[in-house]
Symmetry: C2
Subunit: 322 residues, 2 copies
């Protein structure tokens, strides 16, 4: 075995030394060391992560919403009536005031329109194509490169310690599953998210289709997160990480346990490398969860202070040492 | 390594030699052998099993229904009004005609009543207590011993070949999860089933409760099975096993694939050791799925012919060789 002393910086190289990194390492050691009083059997080491703003960036808008906007634009040629129909007109003419007037209801309509009327496999392919070509408007990188390097290291470290890592997201489960396995190492069956109604159809030749419908089925956000965890995982997590008020109930659920638990809350404090926001934002508003985290001494990650790197290096600069 | 020649009978000792056992062994070899044309990567080796009538017995009534009946009887002392209210009166007085008159709606009411109004943890404990004391009316064994030995061997064999084994049941997901890990080796997060609405509540002290409501949320049966697989697993299975018309759409979904797949259908033909039924039964009616399985040359298991054993030996007779 060759020695690599320069790489001997532990399992979380992109986390700066300090109380946050120490809290993570100590918790994982405590539950995974057989001789520890806090030992937890591997099957019960469930770790849940929010996605938007926790595993990847969520500004200036949720990436799935960027997908929905692009999708509506691509569909517009088959819908000439959209020129005179809100919210489509405002979206196609990039009219922010018109979109704002359409409100949550208009946005929901755009998401439903762009996510329905096709089979689950067709949707997968549409998302796949979009992810391979779309770029973030400010950061000019593919969305799947705007994932947080420290969180990738944390996911990998937890799995090495026999944790089972899950995404529990307010975003659409079928959207996230397209990239989660390749990007995060999280397989489809470990992604919990919001979903639309899906309809089964079979024809006489034995061909089967699952057709995505425009109706919402389940919103995996806020109180929906612990409900979704109960429904999909069926076991209370011992490790939970979020970044917004939509994650608060998931964190509360994880923290109401006699067993050891770890609660992480990411605070976006880094205007230079990513974004700086908490109360005054639409995507990922953080207010109540931060107050509660501070009061209960949960582990609050200050991105600027605690992360040595934010994103992975671009692919063409990787592996240059080998 | 010690040799055990007397045990050298392959991975499925309770399956009799014949075309069914051969079909299973050949399929598993085909998808798991790296040099095979039909090789499928481990992450895609999803195997789904119905529960009632496929992994354990389902006669004379679904075991979960037996639980619901016992539960209503246990709750009756707090509900004197049930003496004059159907379907409770008929149930408490063991009046089969009255129960039949109450129909599906009455049964649904009994299930809802017996499964709601408590936290998810309380429900888990109630089911656990029931399973530890209740006995099957004819077979006089605990319900969790009325599991099929050949299927236990099959689950274990598939997992040894890097399959991920799931239950996809019309039964209640929270009921099955109580015993699935210990009995089948299938953890809670790999159980898909029907579910009721669950409500999140948090108090000011940080205590959190998930309260089971009497409303049905999702019926994981018939066309609901492929929908449930899409929602919970997000990947099309390559191996599916069922025993009734309620499994047909799951089998069709698995069979509509360009990849190799295996479809198993258990036919209960064994009046002496278990039960003999197909068309004329309430629990596990098998008619259309059998016709389709025969037409499409799926693997139909004839319990009497193909299984050398049905149930595991009673616990007190196990391990006598060690």
């Amino acid at each position: 075995m060759a020695a690599h002393p320069s790489h001997a910086i532990g399992p979380l190289p992109s986390w700066n030394d300090g109380p946050v990194k120490t809290a993570i390492l100590e918790f994982v050691a405590r539950v995974s060391d057989k001789d520890s009083l806090g030992f937890i059997p591997p099957a019960e080491r469930i770790a849940v992560f929010d996605n938007d703003g926790t595993l990847w960036t969520e500004q200036p808008i949720y990436f799935q919403l960027a997908f929905a906007f692009d999708r509506v634009a691509a569909m517009a040629k088959d819908h000439p009536e959209w020129e005179n129909t809100e919210p489509y007109r405002s979206l196609l003419h990039r009219d922010p005031n018109g979109l704002a007037a359409a409100g949550e209801k208009g946005i929901a309509q755009i998401v439903a329109q762009s996510h329905a009327g096709m089979t689950t496999e067709e949707f997968d392919q549409i998302v796949r194509n979009w992810l391979s070509t779309a770029r973030h408007p400010n950061l000019r990188r593919p969305y799947t490169e705007l994932i947080f390097q420290p969180m990738l290291e944390l996911l990998k470290f937890l799995r090495a310690k026999s944790f089972k890592t899950f995404i529990v997201s307010g975003g659409g489960v079928e959207f996230i599953r397209v990239f989660a396995e390749q990007v995060y190492g999280i397989p489809p069956e470990q992604v919990v998210g919001s979903s639309g109604v899906v309809k089964f159809e079979a024809d006489a030749d034995g061909h089967v289709r699952l057709i995505k419908q425009p109706q919402v089925e389940f919103i995996d956000d806020g109180a929906g997160k612990p409900v979704g965890i109960n429904r999909f995982i069926g076991r209370r997590p011992i490790f939970a990480f979020g970044n917004s008020d939509g994650d608060l109930q998931m964190l509360q659920y994880t923290a109401d346990s006699k067993n050891p638990y770890f609660i992480g809350l990411l605070h976006h404090t880094d205007r230079a490398r990513e974004f700086e926001y908490d109360i005054h934002t639409h995507a990922g508003k953080l207010e109540k969860a931060l107050v509660e985290a501070q009061a209960r001494k949960w582990t609050v990650v200050d991105m600027r202070r605690d992360w040595g790197a934010v994103y992975p290096p671009p692919p063409d600069t990787r592996n240059t040492h080998h």
